[in-house]
Symmetry: C2
Subunit: 148 residues, 2 copies
DNA sequence: GTAACTGCAAACCTTTTGCAGCTTG
DNA sequence: CAAGCTGCAAAAGGTTTGCAGTTAC
């Protein structure tokens, strides 16, 4: 990880801005999420940190869940669920939101460029009088590799 | 339920066509799903049948799950998960597929007319070489009632 | 110093499974 | 009659919680 100190500082700021106490565990979960370009399960985060860190530095799975919860509540992270099993997956909230193509055979996840619903929410809001907050779109299919 | 016998016959045919053995339990679950205009959880189906039927006629929750599984495999029913909790919800497969608006406060579910992704899948398929099977779209917001 | 966080173990909730007995075709 | 379905109870898998000890501010 290049420029570690800078990252730490940025994280500390981000946490402070959101009233989130700055702990090692939170840094680690956040840092790991930042290094992923895909939605990941709580379990995957737990495993990744388990491997990366010394035994005594492990982040407990409950802590992972609690930390994720806080991140979600503060809108640093989004929580979704998709695919064939219905585990929750987490992803760093990015200003430019994304959708994914999921392969039903190998579960590979591919991000889609652009959002086909741009503009749609507004017309929907007018039609239904809902105040629209967000949408979740996932597309299921078979990836090129698995088509054989 | 009007025209009960006709419904039963239709169901029997539908089951036969799909090689699904025709049992009381399956009829009941299917019938209940047909009476819902919304996606429902396995538990909700179980509860509904529990109330509707005599004690001895209850459909066991495991059976509900097993029956739903069969319906899903035979594409009579779709399984999804959405909203704030991540339970699976089931809905009769309708030729014209639908999406829903979900109120994050009261969990009310409103069906949306039309699909904003018509035509999108094809261009996506060309761009990614995925064979696209289906998509899942749910929109979250606050319903008019809860906006106060 | 104190409020908040963490680890651990146990609880919880939805979903799945093994088995013995019953139903359907 | 045989194959397959159901109920029951128990297990499984993901997620949450209570509590006692530790840490950040």
């Amino acid at each position: 990880m290049v420029n570690k100190q800078k990252n730490l500082d940025e994280m500390a700021n981000l946490f402070k801005k959101n009233g989130i106490k700055n702990t090692k565990q939170r840094q680690r979960v956040f840092d790991y999420l930042a290094s992923c370009n895909q939605p990941v399960t709580a379990d995957a985060i737990y495993d990744a940190l388990k491997i990366e860190l010394l035994n005594d530095d492990r982040v407990n799975l409950s802590t992972v869940y609690r930390v994720l919860d806080i991140f979600v509540k503060n809108r640093l992270v989004t929580k979704t669920s998709f695919g064939n099993d219905y585990k929750a997956v987490f992803e760093l909230y990015r200003v430019e939101h994304r959708h994914h193509l999921i392969c039903v055979r190998c579960n590979a996840i591919t991000a889609i460029k652009g959002c086909p619903l741009k503009g749609y929410e507004q017309s929907l809001s007018q039609a239904t009088h809902f105040k629209i907050l967000e949408h979740r779109l996932e597309i299921l299919g078979v990836c090129p590799k698995c088509q054989n």
